[in-house]
């Protein structure tokens, strides 16, 4: 009986010691983790590197004939967005038509009907022309974006990846950023001739204001990094982010690649 009691006491003691040790280990891990988090230190072996996705879409371009437009024409083509702005111009005053004024009381019913039909026909014809023109402009804009945007998400017949139709709010937002920043991304000749790249992490508020920018991957050239940061800051405010991705944008999940 005594022997049994002694054995159960020993097991209990082992259990208590083991529990204390394990609690101690867990406590130390938690303490170290907390300290590392507070000091913003990452241990390469332990820390999981954040998963980096590249925002781009699969595009298949089928070449069916020789291109009609030259490279220069495509580069000089107005982006579709700006074309839209051009279309909003007030209509030009129409010159007085050069035709004989119909004399009063001479209009017969048939003539009136014919004139009405003719004017309707003209209207229909003009509508058709406009539709065709708009369609062409749209196509030109799409082609322009496809060829000029580089790695920008463009519509296409995807064989893999996400199609344009399947783009969610997130990728739609990403796709707007290159065009937004590129006008401010300039380099002096001597820097452009070096094969440099850097990535800038951007924290944005929902209305597109910059909260913070940091060099996430440096090019190794101080001036190149500075000019990339300068381009980001000059591009502010950024497009307003939709509610679905507000948290990700606030958390700085965007890396802007200069150039990739």
């Amino acid at each position: 009986m005594m022997k049994a009691n002694t054995e159960s006491n020993e097991v209990f003691n082992y259990f208590v010691v083991s529990l204390a040790l394990h609690v101690g280990i867990i406590g130390s891990i938690l303490l170290v983790s907390w300290v590392l988090t507070i000091l913003n230190i990452q241990i390469p072996l332990l820390a999981n590197k954040p998963k980096i996705n590249i925002a781009q879409n699969a595009v298949r371009v089928d070449i069916v004939s020789m291109p009609k437009m030259t490279l220069k024409e495509l580069e000089n083509a107005v982006p579709s967005g700006e074309e839209g702005k051009e279309e909003e111009k007030p209509p030009a005053p129409t010159p007085a038509p050069l035709k004989e004024e119909p004399k009063e009381n001479e209009e017969s019913f048939i003539k009136e009907k014919k004139q009405k039909n003719f004017s309707e026909m003209l209207k229909e014809m003009s509508k058709k022309k406009l539709e065709k023109k708009d369609k062409l402009k749209g196509m030109k804009g799409e082609l322009n974006q496809l060829l000029l945007a580089g790695n920008k998400i463009s519509k296409g017949t995807s064989t893999t990846g996400i199609t344009a139709e399947q783009q969610d709010a997130l990728s739609a937002y990403w796709s707007r950023l290159p065009d937004h920043v590129r006008p401010f991304w300039r380099l002096p000749g001597y820097l452009s001739r070096q094969d440099l790249k850097c990535r800038v992490r951007v924290y944005l508020s929902q209305n597109g204001d910059i909260l913070k920018t940091i060099i996430y991957e440096s090019s190794g050239n101080e001036e190149y990094d500075r000019l990339a940061l300068q381009a980001v800051r000059a591009a502010a405010p950024f497009p307003e982010s939709p509610n679905e991705i507000r948290e990700q944008v606030l958390a700085g999940n965007i890396l802007l690649g200069f150039p990739l």
């Binding site: 999981n48 590129r182 300039r186 381009a231 990700q248 690649g257």
Partner: protein
């Protein structure tokens, strides 16, 4: 119990370090707009009893420097003369030029001591406030263009760290000495900017498709041998540029043409028909030994090699239409790849020196126009349009420029062909030949080292 505790530890441990596991998204902004380097060439400073003729030549040299750099208009902004800011000495006032955002400043001085003309040329980086190039010596009035191109090439090399085209020349075929009744096409040569044109051959016959050796000292070309006005054969010749001596190297029955040098300078890639189907061969110039590169029942012509000689592009009718292909020239029909899939009639594919892209002519809208395609068959773009009929494109040695033949129809019986230069994106800079007969088949000659 231990297993339970292990799970407990892991469940606590990993979420802490995986907190950023949501993922970052890289959005590529793309290439930056490049601010062109502002470069200023001051008008020459003349010291001593300089004559009017010498003054004009000194000014010609400064103009030549400006013109040379203007070819690289996407890289350099050439500032016009600004006498109010000119320095009297060689060293510029850096603060003045910095205020004008000028990047480089160059100054040429011509000095006469007794009857001897001496020049000194110096260039400065305004940003670094230091001299980057100094040259000087005796000034030969007859070699002013040569000196100007050399100074420009040296300065470009220091700034860009690449060879410019300023020391390059062009060889081409010209019919200036012929007539309507007896057309004569001979080999000619000129500087890259269209100056110093001169005739190289005197066959009184028709020269075709020249190819230049990598050292620029030899040119291989075809010659139509006529017998009583009838074409007898198209033979292959080799010309020594310095001595002007040409020798027959192949007179096989049929076509002996379209020759291009391999990078070793000892072998050429050439089309032989040998009375049958045209195929491409590698021929050793010393021994005449042949190695067949293409072996197909259709016609294979127009070989062009990348600068390292590892890839060859050529034109072949094997798909039914004239299409562009590439292959590895180290063996017969090795790694043949079709590059173009469109085009009514494609012609004269030419590799860029880096081997990354091919420029070619294609029949479209009732004339030939020039197109560019990546060596892997992607990125087809049109370079010329509404600019006559454009053929025979060829890349400069730095890959930045393309020289080509452009034809204008003047009447139902008369047309004129001239050589033009454009950058690789189709920005046409202008004609290189004018009133020099019909000029075709341009090829670049590397600067002599």
């Amino acid at each position: 119990m231990k297993l339970f505790l292990s799970f407990f530890i892991f469940s606590i441990f990993f979420p802490i370090y995986g907190a950023e596991g949501d993922g970052l998204t890289v959005v590529a902004i793309g290439k930056a707009q490049v601010d062109r380097d502002k470069i200023y060439f001051q008008d020459p400073t003349l010291v001593g009893a300089i004559t009017e003729k010498e003054r004009k030549i000194a000014y010609e040299l400064t103009t030549l420097l400006r013109n040379d750099f203007a070819f690289y208009q996407k890289r350099f902004h050439i500032l016009p003369p600004m006498p109010s800011l000119s320095s009297q000495g060689l060293t510029p006032r850096f603060t003045d030029w910095e205020a004008k955002s000028v990047d480089y400043f160059s100054h040429f001085i011509l000095e006469k001591k007794g009857n001897v003309l001496q020049y000194s040329f110096e260039s400065f980086s305004i940003k670094d406030k230091k001299s980057i190039l100094t040259r000087g010596g005796a000034f030969d009035l007859t070699l002013v263009r040569f000196l100007g191109h050399r100074l420009a090439a040296d300065l470009y090399k220091i700034i860009v760290d690449k060879e410019a085209i300023f020391g390059s020349r062009l060889v081409f075929v010209c019919d200036q000495s012929g007539s309507l009744r007896k057309p004569i096409k001979e080999l000619c040569m000129m500087d890259f900017d269209g100056n110093n044109a001169r005739r190289l051959t005197y066959h009184n016959s028709t020269v075709l498709s020249p190819g230049v050796s990598p050292d620029g000292k030899r040119i291989v070309y075809s010659l139509i041998k006529e017998d009583q006005g009838k074409v007898k054969n198209i033979n292959l010749y080799l010309l020594d540029v310095q001595s002007g001596q040409a020798k027959l190297i192949s007179n096989k029955i049929g076509i002996n043409s379209g020759a291009v040098f391999l990078p070793d300078g000892e072998n050429i890639a050439v089309t032989f028909s040998m009375g049958e189907n045209a195929d491409i061969y590698i021929m050793n110039l010393a021994s005449g030994a042949l190695r067949k590169i293409t072996n197909h029942f259709s016609i294979d012509v127009d070989p062009s090699l990348s600068a390292d000689g590892k890839i060859m592009t050529f034109l072949s009718g094997r798909s039914g239409n004239a299409m562009i292909y590439t292959l590895d020239p180290s063996a017969t029909e090795k790694d043949v790849k079709r590059i173009s899939y469109v085009g009514q009639f494609n012609a004269t594919p030419r590799f860029s020196p880096q081997g990354s892209e091919i420029v070619f002519a294609s029949w479209l809208d009732e004339c030939f126009d020039l197109f560019r395609i990546n060596a892997d068959g992607t990125g087809l773009v049109r370079l010329t349009k509404n600019f006559g009929s454009n053929e025979d494109p060829v890349y400069s040695n730095d890959g930045e420029f393309i020289v080509f033949t452009s034809q204008r129809i003047l009447s139902s019986v008369k047309a004129v062909q001239n050589l033009y230069i454009m950058d690789r994106d189709g920005e046409i800079m202008g004609p290189l030949t004018k009133n020099f007969g019909n000029c075709t088949s341009p090829r670049w000659i590397n600067p002599l080292k």
